[in-house]
């Protein structure tokens, strides 16, 4: 105590700023703050990305201008952006629903592949006869994709619920396994003339595209946006309804926020763990089905440039809100579409990483208020 007094009486003779930065906890968070902070985080992330681009010898302004133009510059590219956004909406939803229960499903990528595999099985093994109508064929593909995705979600969900096995690792490992399994079918079973792809599906297995209606409405000519977008939007509404308007959604949110309270309230955590993982996997599987039904029309290698992983960032950026997932996915769809042409090839991934980092770091601004006060105010 004595020494403390002594220090107070003879303050150290070093230069002190007249202003002082104080960090104090926020008692309430204004509604406008969260989106503003997120937007600020993205801007800062893009600036850092620009800096790195400049260091490795690129022209950041040109690169960003190119991204904007190549993603949203005309009706044609906007349509392509929506094509990229479709799987992203679904993987984003898959992650959002699992993360809401604090279930870390990092396996949307593998579930996406399994969905694609499931849809292909229906078409390529002739389960649905070739002359079946489009309605029947697409319906069967849809069911198969969803079931395969859900199955791939069931495995880690069951292991987590019954065996307490960490789902982060299992979902990740199942990604690698799913990709190898699909590759086996692509190369070893359905390979078309030794190429890394199956033969093209019959027309009745193609999801309708906007350009299919170009005869009636010429403006649609060349637009590639396909019916999968409708699946994605419907899924967003369903997930939104489930999470915020249903009892099941209430249980999911309660388990996510406070598992102990949920347990005392009699909510079955074991069952919900399995069900939510299956729901999450089903959404990602639907993404895989819509990708091969709407875009590539056959099973081929590397159908996803990491949609499952980008879904994680999208879910987080949307604050796990299923409706917000849609516009965020469109933005990232643009980034992926335009980013393909940007060199070096790692740039889009790098920018995604920086955005995610900035985003979670900026959350501290929601919890704490940083005030600059005069030093004299301090008592």
């Amino acid at each position: 105590m004595m020494s403390n007094e002594a220090v107070k009486q003879t303050p150290p003779r070093r230069f002190q700023l007249p202003l002082q930065i104080r960090v104090e906890p926020r008692l309430e968070v204004p509604r406008w703050l969260s989106p503003v902070v997120s937007l600020g985080a993205i801007i800062v992330a893009l600036l850092i990305g620009a800096l790195i681009l400049a260091i490795v010898g690129g022209n950041p302004f040109q690169a960003y201008a190119h991204i904007a133009k190549a993603a949203f510059g005309s009706l044609g590219v906007l349509s392509d952006t929506l094509v990229k956004a479709t799987p992203l909406i679904l993987t984003g939803l898959a992650c959002a629903v699992a993360f809401r229960m604090k279930l870390w499903n990092i396996g949307a990528e593998g579930q996406f592949y399994m969905g694609a595999l499931g849809a292909s099985v229906v078409v390529l093994t002739g389960i649905v006869p070739e002359e079946a109508s489009r309605f029947v064929t697409v319906g069967a593909m849809l069911i198969a994709g969803v079931v395969f995705g859900a199955l791939w979600g069931f495995i880690p969900g069951w292991l987590k619920a019954r065996m307490k096995v960490n789902e982060i690792i299992t979902t990740l490992m199942l990604n690698y396994i799913a990709i190898s399994l699909t590759n086996y079918f692509i190369f070893g079973v359905w390979s078309e003339g030794g190429f890394q792809m199956s033969h093209t599906f019959q027309r009745s297995a193609w999801l309708p595209r906007l350009s299919d209606y170009a005869e009636q409405a010429p403006i649609l000519r060349g637009l590639t946006t396909h019916f999968g977008l409708v699946f994605a939007l419907v899924a967003a509404v369903i997930v939104g309804y489930v999470l915020y308007r249903s009892i099941w959604g209430y249980e999911i949110r309660l388990i996510g926020d406070n598992p102990r309270a949920a347990e005392y309230a009699g909510i079955n955590i074991t069952r919900n763990t399995v069900l939510v993982m299956m729901f999450s996997g089903a959404l990602a599987g639907l993404g895989g089905m819509s990708e091969i039904g709407g875009v590539v029309h056959r099973l081929q290698a590397a159908i996803s440039p990491g949609y499952g992983f980008t879904g994680i960032i999208i879910a987080w950026l949307a604050k796990l809100n299923p409706i917000v997932v849609v516009p965020v996915a469109v933005l990232f769809g643009g980034l992926i579409l335009a980013g393909r042409e940007i060199q070096p090839a790692g740039i889009p991934r790098l920018i995604q990483g920086i955005i995610l980092f900035m985003l979670i770091a900026s959350d501290v601004l929601l919890r704490y208020r940083i005030r600059i006060v005069r030093r004299a105010e301090r008592v």
Binding site: I52, I169, I312, P344, Q352, G353, F357
Partner: protein, 322 residues
Amino acid sequence: MDPIIILHAGVATGTVLLFATIGEIFAERAGVLNLGLEGMMLIGAMSAFAVTVQTGNGGLGLLVAMLAAGILSLLHGLVTIHFQADQVVSGLALTFLGVGLSLVLGEGLSSAGAIALLPTYTIPVLSSIPFLGPILFTEQSVMVYVGYILIPLSWFYINHTRFGLHLRAVGENPTAADAMGVNVYRLRYIYVFVGGTLAGLAGGTISLAISPGWFSELTTGGMGWIAIGLVIFAQWNPWRAAFGSYAFGALRRTILDIQGPQMILGLRNPFFFNPYYGFFLQMLPFAFTIIVLIIGSREALRKRLGAPAALGLPYIRGERGL
């Protein structure tokens, strides 16, 4: 399919997993889960290879690799320790960042050509031990021997030193550690950094010794994630980590060897005559990780062992703790 060759190569490959796993054990023992191993290992592999190509000095390459990955890990430290962000999401962000950054900076590096690799040694007396000698002490990279030393050292450090006690306290009960006068924040930063440097060392070991070169993402090929699984199997114990790492290394080598033209149990090798079955072999390390996790989790349940109690939780001074 000579078991000695497989185990010899398994120990070499396992050394990579060993460094990464022990590094992660340090970070997790301090209460910080760092899922960014894959990204940090790639940064390490890339920078070690790049520096060695430029200077011809493998030791310098390893040093830069450790520093680069360590600095990257501090980013995770800052975000999770001071900003109290979710450790899972931050670790994933670190993975994206590390993978992206190493791809960007490593652009064009794969064509850099051959370099002088880290030396290999045969230990005079030990190598003549029957069975174990040819596996452990003959023609192994210097990094393998570093691994042998690291296992007992890290075990002793964690379990039998004052620093190790503080490390465990910070991960088990940070509030009590703080009351004891241990600087929780500082220790967490230090051990996140230690974890990062060891991940960088793991990456550098790949690109300079085990499978030399820079092959973008394939350089690590998911080994970072396997290491995270091994930490759980190891129950945060370096000895078990060593066992798991070497076993996985041997498994990887077996998978390569089994695709050769030999007979298995007198039958024609199906993997040689239908190479597409190789895709199932590729799944094995990942499937085994899941199996190993199940074993580890069951054992932990039975023995009532568990992760460090404060693993994944931010420590906020002055708030009610656990």
